[in-house]
């Protein structure tokens, strides 16, 4: 927890409303996101009870499993869900753009991508489980399911796995997206409650965030956002409804269960769209748009893989896949952190407080400074900046700046309030600096020891060449019949 975020929470306590932690939005928000609120039957690993899903705030689809322990009903639910999710997802495959690449063939990328919004982390985890429990099913054989079910499973798995990729926005958890931009006057643990979090950010007129958050803890007023349901609701409402269905299965009994879960889902549905509105109120940061481009690429690639008839995602990464994913995630994390700071002075502020970044006024500038002779002569402009920030940077530290993202500077000296630095990259080949390339005396500047430079990692062995230290080559994946026999209870 940075001192800045701590201070923002303190201010939220005093003012009674959440405080901004960001001036721009750090996640892309689709124009037509799909909200997905799943509920699970308590005590079961992945037995869906219901879901509210859709792209139109006024017209949610409600899907219900009137007896969640019934395997057939569960797969019927999955097929129904597929009927809503798949057309939405596949709709984005129609329009593509051609991406030119330096030194490689151009490729096609979808012009836009789907975006799923779930209430919180646990809904995200449940989405992953739902994907896991459906993607290995088959449309033929003794445990046949509707052909759309395994496809749905693979998409849900894709979305949920992608959500763990730093900076990705293909699947967002509302509580996390909101917490990234606002600090409440309660603890981070309590922020996991969507109703209470929104209560702080946007309290109803005449009340404080604290009051709204307290009210949000009453499951009778604000049912939990799922996938877990309120135990009181389970005991008093759901259990009798399910029992009635068991005793006399039929539309009326199913409707009773549906009405019961609707009362639990409706409030969260409305909250989800309020979350969308709140996030829309912030302008999108530059990096968020760039990351969405990567997301579109990832979406396109997965869709192609699916179209080519590739196998479902394995149960876990092999040694090589794990190492390669880790490298990608670490790289994404570093650039996500850097981009956020360069996009947003409030995010940068936290680094200024710890001395890893500073802002100040240029007091001296030598744009013509150069190093080397003849052909090796390179322009290395010198700057001296006066700052009130507590700079803790060692000589030689590489710095970036939000105003000139292509440049890199190096700390030459820190002397009290004066920081001297040298621009070492991004000056071009010219003999003199292009006008505006080097800050002038009197300019306000900001420099930070954050880099989103991409250094390609060394290559990994092919999976079939996994060395003996890591268990040797893994057995080839053969879809086992066991996969589709699992009872899913």
């Amino acid at each position: 927890m940075s001192t800045l975020a701590a201070l923002a929470r303190l201010r939220a306590v005093r003012t009674g409303t959440a405080q901004r932690l960001a001036t721009v939005r750090h996640c892309h928000l689709s124009e037509r996101p799909m909200v997905f609120i799943p509920l699970r039957l308590a005590g079961e690993a992945a037995a869906p009870l219901a879901a509210m899903v859709g792209t139109d705030p006024g017209h949610p689809h409600l899907l219900v499993v009137p007896q969640p322990r019934d395997r057939d009903l569960r797969f019927a639910f999955a097929a129904e869900l597929a009927e809503i999710v798949l057309p939405y997802v596949e709709g984005f495959l129609k329009e593509t753009e051609t991406v030119e690449r330096r030194g490689a063939e151009p490729y096609e990328r979808c012009a836009d991508a789907p975006q799923l919004l779930v209430p919180g982390r646990s809904a995200l985890a449940f989405t992953l489980l739902l994907g896991r429990s459906t993607r290995f099913r088959r449309a033929e054989g003794p445990h046949a399911v509707h052909p759309s079910v395994p496809i749905l499973g693979r998409w849900l798995t894709f979305f949920a796995q992608r959500a763990r990729h730093p900076g990705s926005a293909l699947l967002l958890a509302a509580t996390e997206a909101l917490s990234l931009h606002w600090a409440t006057g309660q603890s981070a643990l309590e922020d996991a409650n969507l109703a209470s979090l929104i209560g702080w950010i946007d309290p109803p007129p005449g009340t404080t965030g604290a009051d709204a958050a307290r009210e949000a803890e009453d499951p009778l007023v604000w049912p939990p956002a799922g996938p877990a349901t309120d135990p009181g609701f389970d005991a008093e409402v759901l259990a009798p409804a399910i029992r009635a269905y068991e005793e006399a299965p039929g539309e009326r009994a199913a409707a009773r269960v549906a009405e019961a879960v609707r009362t639990q889902l409706d409030p969260t549905w409305r909250l989800m769209w309020r979350a969308v509105d709140l996030l829309r109120g912030l302008p999108e940061g530059r990096g968020a748009s760039a990351r969405w481009e990567t997301d579109r690429g990832s979406f396109t690639a997965f869709a192609e893989q699916l179209a080519e008839g590739g196998p479902p995602q394995p149960k876990h990464d092999g040694a090589v896949a794990a190492a390669s994913r880790l490298a990608r995630m670490e790289r994404a994390q570093a650039s996500y952190d850097a981009q956020r700071a360069y996009d947003d002075p409030l995010v940068m502020a936290a680094y200024r407080l710890t001395g890893e970044a500073f802002t100040g006024t240029v007091v001296a500038s030598d744009p013509a400074n150069a190093e080397g002779e003849g052909r090796g002569r390179k322009l290395r402009p010198l700057l001296t900046v006066r700052t009130g920030d507590p700079v803790r940077l060692a000589t030689g530290t590489k710095l970036g700046t939000p105003d000139r993202r292509g440049q890199q500077a190096e700390v030459v000296e820190v002397d009290g309030e004066l920081v001297t630095l040298k621009i070492v990259k991004g000056m071009g080949r010219g003999k003199v600096a292009t006008p505006g390339a080097v800050p002038e005396v009197g300019d306000q500047v900001c420099y930070a020891a954050l880099s989103d430079e991409y250094q390609p990692p060394a290559s990994l062995p092919a999976p079939e060449e996994t060395p003996w230290t890591h268990g040797g080559p893994p057995p080839e994946y053969v879809p086992s019949t066991e996969d589709d026999q699992e009872e899913w209870s």
Partner: protein, 280 residues
Amino acid sequence: MSERLDALEERINALRAEVRRAVRARDGALARSLRAELRGVERAWDQALADQEPPARETPSASEPDEAPRAGAAREPGALVPVREQVHQALTILGVPASAKMIVAVHGALRAGSLRGTQLASLRRDEERSFRSSPFARPYYLCAALTDRLSASRGLLTVSTWPLERRAIGPLSPRVDFLTTAIRVAEHILRLEEAGEPTPSGAERLLSRLAYNVPGVPVAPDAPPRPAMVVKAARAELEVHAGADADARARIADRARARLGDAERLFGGTILSLAREEAS
């Protein structure tokens, strides 16, 4: 929807909220009375709906073709045969002490019966009452299995006509009886096969379930285990335990014969007799 229905629904929602509030406040009495009121209003709602709509045609589900809607115990299919009779049938197939759950499963799988666990709950007590009021008036009683403390073993049912040795439960008896159950179920299926009758799918499922826990039964995906293999594998393990189990059971049976009266021998020793046993 009619106004009356709307009003009822509103009342239902309000009551549900009140019930849960009471539960959260740990006010059990209030919750119960509210719940009772709630059920009443729900019934009224159902009634109102039924008055309004033509009776809904509810197709019986395909898997249970003869399940009559909302039948009470007395009108259960096969209810022509009393519950104790059905339990007796199941126990006779098994030939070993069995839990209510196993009896229900076996009866369902092999006799296409639809016993429910709840129906067996008070069976042993009823049998004991009947025996105590007029001993040995019936040809058989459904009675208890005896632990090595000569008390009634929790949850197990036996038949009074069985020898005491079979009704006694030593440390290895649960395993021996489980293996015997697997053998009996497999043999029952074999007999059906020999008679050219189709094997009920429930029987196959039961056999798979049992066979899974018998070591040495070959598993083929998507196919039920072959009954003959189950018999063979279960017999192999049974061989290992049989001697020790028979000894232990015989010792318990001897003690029971020496120390328990007729009723206790059938329904288990009381605390008093246990204390005597302990003291001796």
